[in-house]
């Protein structure tokens, strides 16, 4: 299912949470909506699943606005997850399937199929409250996908997840992708997202700061990066020959290096110049890119 969000704006309690945001999610691709806490990720997802209505702008699903058929084709795993603890796994699954318009019979069949697939069939009549945390998370994931959605929306799918379930989510997302479904996941765990997403929408304070195919982004930010931690002032490192840009915190700095210059040479200079606590060289990851983009944005803002 192709999704298009067009100039979304949403304010909550007098504060603009989503600011003129437009993006697309394509079938067979995984779109990661990434950003720190409070960036507006959950609000965006709630608009996509029609829990919130945007103050302005619109969302189109296969060029149509939200309707009953589309709602039934969406699977949503919210960040705040919960189930009816006093009821059995089976009853929870059937109820959520019925809410997605499955007939009673079909809901029961799908529930059994999923419980078998997720290896939880033996606990089908056990109250959810008595399950282990790992199994409870499994049931929550199952509730989101029991109706085999065309559009799967996951909010912080790796947060507070059991390690086994993190792997399960990765496999599941890959499986849905392979089936040509559309997946949108929102997370603050940029490194996790980097391993899963095909396309990325980096947001900060409700505004898109970077939006592209992950490969293209990586290509764009392909220069080497030296990360330095020291107990002293690092401002002088910016003047080292071969350092293109530097993002500095209180006791650390990220130095983007001209690939034409030998990295080893720069490292030697750094070590001689400051009393280094930690130093590492790597290709910039999404976290580094996000920080650089934010930094550049602030610089432009100041200018």
């Amino acid at each position: 299912m192709h999704l298009k969000a067009d100039h979304l704006i949403k304010a909550l309690e007098g504060k603009t949470v989503v600011s003129d945001l437009s993006f697309e999610a394509r079938a067979g691709y995984i779109l990661g909506i990434l950003g720190p806490d409070g960036a507006g990720k959950t609000t965006i997802l709630r608009i996509l699943v029609d829990i919130f209505r945007p103050d302005s702008g619109a969302v189109f699903y296969e060029d149509q606005p939200m309707n009953r058929k589309i709602r039934n084709a969406i699977g949503y795993l919210p960040e705040e997850r919960g189930l009816y603890g006093e009821y059995s796994v089976n009853r929870n699954l059937v109820y959520f399937a019925r809410l997605k318009n499955l007939s009673r019979k079909k809901a029961q069949v799908e529930a059994v199929r999923l419980m078998d697939r997720f290896n939880i069939i033996e606990q089908m009549d056990m109250p959810v409250a008595l399950l282990s945390e790992e199994d409870r998370q499994k049931v929550q994931i199952m509730c989101a996908i029991i109706h085999n959605p065309d559009l799967l929306i996951l909010d912080e799918p790796f947060a507070a997840m059991h390690p086994n379930n993190q792997t399960l989510v990765r496999k599941l997302v890959q499986h849905f992708k392979d089936e040509g479904k559309t997946i949108i996941l929102a997370t603050r765990a940029l490194n996790e997202a980097e391993t899963v997403c095909d396309e990325v929408l980096l947001i900060d304070q409700g505004r898109a700061v970077l939006q592209d195919n992950l490969k293209k982004i990586k290509e764009k930010f392909r220069e080497s990066l030296i990360y330095v931690e020291a107990a002293e002032e690092l401002q002088s490192l910016q003047d080292i020959f071969g350092v293109k840009r530097m993002i500095q915190d209180e006791h650390s700095a990220r130095l983007f290096i001209d690939n034409q210059v030998a990295t080893q040479k720069i490292l030697d200079i750094i070590i001689r110049s400051v009393n280094v606590n930690k130093i590492e060289v790597h290709r910039p990851n999404l976290n580094d890119i996000f920080l650089e983009v934010l930094h550049n944005g602030h610089q432009k803002g100041k200018a």
């Binding site: 009816y84 959520f96 809410l99």
Partner: protein, 500 residues
């Protein structure tokens, strides 16, 4: 629409098997039956085992105690024969040796006084005889002699009279002391609940002393008061020269039998069934409304606390969710009311409920009960849904729920106004206040038979309020049910509602 039914069915089944539903459905009637039968049993019991024994002490009068006792016994036949009885027990003093001696001395003194009186009278007669025989030569001598004898006898008689009065006063004092002492001791050992003190001044002044250790229910003393009043009136009438037969005719007691007009038929008014039946019906109405709307409140609070609500909202609209819940739990409430009606029907069939006496028990009123139940439920369900949505957790929800529960007590607290005057302007006006309407109209129906217009107005006003309340509750639910960490301010709720 399918989701609406799925949600309604889920909520219905979810609470149908819950302990609280079963308890409120089957325990409430037992509690209400207790409310009826315990006072009735107490009343019944008090009629047999709580007959009151009251003492009667009489000074210087005779047979009043006896008369009062006879009248009390006679009146029982006139009134309800099962009514609690008052048994009057005349109290006589125990005779002590001292009292016996004083009595003996008093009798001797009385005998002596009688003898001297007789002697004195004889002397007087003799003197009269001597005086009338004017021709006797010894007339003067005889008169002179008898004069001395008369003076001497009179002096002796006067002295005997003084002695007799002294002894009489002494005995009276001793008897009074002995009688009152005995009455007080009977009171202390609970043989009697109290005693009456009757003396010549009693009926002149119209005041009868009643001595008791503890205050006695004045209603219990009413028959006694009536009898005393009757005797007093009789005494006064007799003083006016009215004959006994005329007095009895004039004092013929009357009983008031109240008949209530209902349509073209009249029914005998019985306080207990006329007032108690609608009050019990109102209690059932309340349990019905607050069981179902309480479930709705719990359902929303649980889903919010358990963080299920976001998943639900991604599958169904807030109106489907709230509407489905209200509908499903309304059906549950209706089911509960139908169970109660079936139970009532069963009790009528086996003649445990006197259906002829309770004018409330008609098919029309059953329909009216269902209608006002539904309206009341919908109104409180909407209020509860909105309240539950803004709560942050179960503790917070409990506090907010308490406020609604206090609001719900108003109809019960104000119900006394309907009982006192079912068709007054104030009661009519209050009947149109939505959250008072179900209680007031259902109470007024058997007590005041309100005009049809009052039904239309109360139902109309309620419907308008319900529509507004449900719409508002749906919007609040949508706006506030996803705010978990702090209770949303009114401003933020209004803002959400405005944009949603």
């Amino acid at each position: 629409m399918r989701r609406f039914w799925v949600i309604a069915g889920w909520e219905f089944k979810r609470y149908l098997r819950s302990r609280s539903f079963l308890l409120s459905t089957f325990i409430s009637p037992i509690i209400f039956a207790g409310l009826i039968f315990i006072p009735a049993m107490y009343y019944e019991n008090s009629q047999t085992s709580q007959d009151q024994v009251i003492g009667c002490v009489e000074f210087d009068t005779t047979s009043y105690c006896q008369l009062i006792s006879e009248r009390l016994t006679g009146n029982i036949d006139l009134r309800d024969s099962n009514a609690p009885r008052i048994l009057l027990e005349p109290i006589v003093p125990d005779t002590t040796a001292q009292l016996r001696d004083d009595f003996r001395n008093l009798l001797v003194a009385q005998h002596r006084l009688d003898s001297l009186d007789e002697a004195y009278n004889k002397v007087k007669e003799r003197r009269k005889y001597h005086f009338q025989r004017s021709d006797s030569p010894t007339k003067t001598q005889l008169l002179s002699k008898s004069y001395e004898e008369m003076i001497s006898t009179r002096e002796l008689r006067d002295l005997a009279e003084i002695e007799y009065s002294r002894l009489q006063s002494k005995v009276d004092t001793m008897v009074e002391k002995a009688v009152l002492g005995k009455a007080d001791s009977l009171l202390q050992v609970k043989r009697i609940s109290g005693y009456l003190r009757i003396d010549p001044g009693t009926f002149q002044q119209g005041v009868v002393e009643f001595h008791s250790e503890q205050p006695i229910n004045f209603l219990r003393l009413q028959p006694l008061e009536q009898v005393l009043q009757g005797i007093l009136v009789e005494e006064r009438m007799r003083g006016e020269g009215i004959t006994v037969n005329k007095i009895q005719e004039l004092l013929q007691p009357i009983m008031i039998q109240e008949l209530l007009l209902e349509g073209s038929q009249k029914h005998e008014f019985k306080f207990m069934v006329t007032y108690l039946a609608p009050v019990i019906a109102i209690l059932f109405l309340f349990v019905g409304i607050f069981t179902s709307s309480g479930f709705l409140f719990r359902s929303i609070v649980d889903e919010k606390s358990e963080r299920v609500v976001e998943s639900l909202l991604s599958s169904a609209s807030s109106f489907q969710l709230v509407g489905g819940k209200i509908f499903g739990l309304g059906l549950l409430g209706l089911f509960q009311v139908l169970i109660w009606m079936s139970m009532a029907g069963l009790l009528i069939l086996i003649n445990l409920i006197p259906v002829k006496d309770i004018i409330l028990l008609t098919f029309e009123n059953a329909g009216l009960f269902l209608l006002y139940f539904l309206l009341g439920y919908l109104l409180f369900a909407a209020i509860y849904a909105g309240t539950a949505s803004v709560s942050v957790n179960r503790h917070d929800a409990f506090q907010l729920g308490q406020m609604v529960r206090i609001l719900s007590l108003f109809p019960l607290a104000l119900a006394i106004l309907v009982l006192l005057s079912p068709n007054s302007m104030l009661v009519r006006f209050l009947s149109f206040v939505p959250f008072l309407s179900p209680t007031f109209m259902l109470l007024r129906t058997p007590l005041g038979q309100p005009p049809l217009l009052d039904y239309y107005i109360s139902i109309g006003v309620m419907l308008v309020f319900i529509i507004l309340a449900v719409l508002f509750a749906g919007k609040i639910y949508r706006a506030a049910s996803l705010i978990y960490r702090k209770r949303p301010s009114l401003k933020s709720i209004l803002e959400y509602i405005h944009f949603s």
